[in-house]
């Protein structure tokens, strides 16, 4: 259920420059607990940068990111503690090649002292079973396919029991036959009530899972609405043009 009393994540006039290039030109958005938000838009429009600002992997040039009531960019905020509550999944998986599958999952919970090694391993096994990777537990990631790596990356983030999951084009680097399995895992997660922010080019998937869709173009949220509103009745000519190219 979406709880829209207080936002889980709020951005206030978020701006980000890379040198002279203005990538984000002021985005103010609220994401509520339980909400599934998909972000679509043309490449280079700022979708990924916006997502990466939400856990401060990119430090905004100006504006605020407020997570669970705390402003993330303030000195007194313990960013590491907040990041433990914000799971992130990357386009390039970024699994740890030098660690076995199980250790990929347990390293963060153990090192951040969230769990003991035994607790973390029990939790990891449970999660691996859920995504069909139980038999890979003792393998190194190089033995996994792209789709398996991405499922491992999702499980690794879930092991920290985050309050929100950020997905940065999670299927863009996958072979076509691997996409479905990964999307199914994300869909299950979204349906279980996990708050998700998903940058994606998979329009069908977006339509299926999203409560709300943001169309980000040229550094601003050019249009937002429910999937039906945005896909069937886009108001902004830029949205119309984009959708006509991708659908």
């Amino acid at each position: 259920m979406i709880d829209n009393r207080i936002p889980l994540i709020e951005t206030v006039d978020l701006k980000k420059n890379f040198g002279k290039l203005e990538v984000l030109k002021g985005i103010s958005e609220k994401i509520y607990k339980g909400e599934v938000v998909c972000i679509i838009g043309p490449s280079g429009g700022g979708k990924s940068t916006f997502l990466r600002c939400l856990n401060l992997l990119e430090v905004p040039t100006s504006g605020k990111v407020i997570f669970e009531g705390d402003e993330l960019d303030e000195k007194k905020t313990d960013l590491n503690l907040h990041r433990q509550k914000i799971g992130m999944v990357f386009q390039q998986f970024n699994v740890f090649p030098h660690l076995k599958v199980i250790d990929n999952i347990t390293i963060a919970p153990v090192k951040t002292k969230k769990y003991t090694k035994e607790q973390a391993e029990a939790k990891a096994k449970e999660l691996l079973a859920q995504v069909g990777l139980s038999d890979k537990e003792q393998e190194y990631p190089r033995k996994l396919s792209g789709g398996q790596k991405q499922r491992l990356a999702i499980v690794r983030a879930l092991a920290m029991e985050p309050d929100v999951m950020l997905f940065d084009e999670p299927t863009s680097a996958l072979d076509p036959e691997m996409v479905k399995g990964v999307l199914e895992v994300i869909q299950k997660l979204a349906e279980s009530g996990m708050t998700c922010v998903i940058v994606t080019h998979e329009m069908g998937f977006c339509r299926k899972v999203a409560d709300r869709v943001l169309f980000i173009d040229d550094g601003v949220v050019a249009e937002s609405g429910t999937p039906d509103e945005l896909f069937d009745h886009p108001k902004n000519p830029r949205t119309q043009e984009f959708l006509s190219q991708v659908l």
């Binding site: 992997l57 990041r83 799971g87 990357f90 970024n94 740890f96 030098h98 963060a108 090192k111 951040t112």
Partner: protein
């Protein structure tokens, strides 16, 4: 021509052995201490603070951009002159000092490029899980960087085995110094050939070791 090579080797082998021991010892000390110092320099070099990073890059560039022999002369003659307190210290340490500093500059670059070669996505993934900078470096980046660093450190040791030959100029008992000893016995060309042979054997053996290590590291992913 006088005596043959094998005759000289047979007669004076303890001298060559002692020289070889010195060479291996000095290069080991130089690379080991140089590695510790080099790791510190590398970390400083990787700092986000531009000024701090600049200081490390000056250090590296000066030491790599000037000949080791010059650095040895400066250390050996100039340091005690500038700081008379240092006169009490055995001169051998000034030569070692130059060797260690020189090695640290090369090692710093080895470590820095080894760390830089690890995909930045690894750091991002670790930080996004809430791991601290230190944990990320220690648990995620360094274990992957070590694969690039260890073989390169082995090569630095091989290079240092040859570089220490300059220490003989300052009367440190290493392989090249045996040449000076035996020259007093009117033996010139034989010791030189023997020394060249020993250097070649040692570096070939060490290179073989480094290659084996490289292979092993690439398997244990």
């Amino acid at each position: 021509m006088g005596k043959g090579i094998f005759e000289v080797l047979f007669e004076y082998w303890p001298i060559f052995l002692r020289g070889l021991a010195g060479t291996l010892e000095y290069s080991f000390i130089a690379v080991t201490l140089g590695s510790i110092l080099g790791a510190v320099v590398a970390v400083i070099h990787l700092s986000k603070n531009k000024f701090v990073s600049f200081i490390a890059s000056v250090y590296v560039n000066v030491l790599r951009g000037t000949p080791l022999l010059v650095q040895m002369y400066i250390s050996y003659y100039f340091l005690p002159m500038a700081f008379p307190v240092l006169n009490k210290i055995d001169k051998i340490y000034f030569v070692m000092f130059a060797l260690i500093l020189n090695s640290s500059a090369y090692v710093a670059e080895i470590i820095r490029s080894g760390i830089n070669a690890v995909d930045s996505g690894q750091t991002e993934a670790a930080r996004s899980l809430g791991m601290t900078k230190g944990q990320t470096m220690l648990r995620i980046v360094l274990p992957q960087a070590i694969k690039n660093i260890l073989p390169a450190l082995g090569n630095e040791y091989i290079a240092m085995v040859k570089e220490t030959s300059l220490a003989g100029t300052f009367m440190l008992y290493e392989l090249m110094y045996t040449r000076t000893i035996l020259a007093n016995k009117y033996l010139v060309w034989q010791p030189q050939m023997i020394i060249a042979g020993i250097y070649l054997i040692v570096t070939l053996v060490l290179s073989f070791g480094v290659k084996k290590m490289e292979k092993r590291l690439s398997v244990s992913d």
